[in-house]
Symmetry: C2
């Protein structure tokens, strides 16, 4: 049971974004810019960062949701689970591996990001902007993870729910839209 | 030294918000709504939540900045330091004490917010909206703290810097403005 009254039809973050729409709007806009805007990181890579970071925070809703989206976007069966299980052996670029480790450290505590981690990412070709965006995506998912779990929003256990949500987020992105969650 | 090139004149979050203005805008807007918008919590109470949460994350820049603002807004000498030192004995309402503990738990990990904490806040008169906003302010400062420290932005050590920044934020709020940091 959530700690405040939320629509039963809207589990996880969806009910919270519906509860207070004025605060939801800039959260949605920031997410759209970071995860779907112009970037040298693919949308799939950015969703993998979100999934790994959410797992680090043990936020089951966000981990499942962004794993589902990453699996839709990346042409590699079960990529999210592979990356979440072991970054080092996952079939992603060395640059992304280094960025994923920076993202993980960021959500544990920003001060855990070390010069060595940054140097390793740069050696694999990471740019200033990619470093910035990786840290900010991780920081944004700190917000999401703590928001979702701090108010005890409902976490569906049926994997099919996240497949449906992932498809909605892939097709519609993160900005508000009419009948956004129809069929969820 | 920050991990990416930031203006030397803009330490802490200020340089990061200047680095990528398109992502900065929704972050600023969310902060303005939550910390300065209509609320049954005073601006001073909301800044105290930000200060306590930032201390929990050990983000020195954000702790110092929001302590300075709280001390300007609340008519009680050194209120931020008193609350940060011991919530239970600080000269604030029992409702705020209960909310501050929820905020602290939220940034540690959202799942640390318990039904008992929520029941205690409700017994002291906290509303659904106050519970929601407390958790979302804490979640927003998870973003700020991890963003600021994850990129190793500069943390000034001179307390006078934070007094100047606090005055700017009190007078101008959080939205973008011309010559925002003149005199910082």
């Amino acid at each position: 049971m959530p700690y405040i009254p939320l629509s039963e039809k809207l589990p996880g973050i969806t009910g919270l974004l519906d509860y207070r729409k004025d605060t939801a709007l800039p959260i949605r806009q920031l997410t759209q810019i970071l995860l779907r805007g112009e970037s040298t990181l693919t949308e799939g890579e950015r969703e993998l960062i979100a999934a790994v970071v959410s797992q680090e925070d043990e936020c089951r809703f966000c981990t499942s949701a962004h794993s589902a989206i990453a699996n839709i976007l990346v042409d590699e069966e079960g990529i999210a689970e592979k990356v979440r299980s072991d970054i080092d052996t996952a079939p992603v670029s060395n640059k992304l591996k280094a960025l994923l480790k920076i993202a993980q450290a960021t959500v544990r505590n920003g001060r855990q990001v070390t010069e060595e981690m940054v140097a390793e990412a740069r050696a694999e070709g990471a740019t200033d902007r990619e470093l910035h965006d990786t840290v900010l995506i991780a920081a944004l998912f700190s917000l999401y993870n703590h928001y979702v779990d701090g108010l005890a929003s409902v976490t569906p256990t049926d994997p099919a729910f996240y497949d449906r949500l992932g498809k909605i987020l892939k097709d519609k992105g993160y900005l508000p839209s009419e009948n956004r969650y129809a069929g969820l």
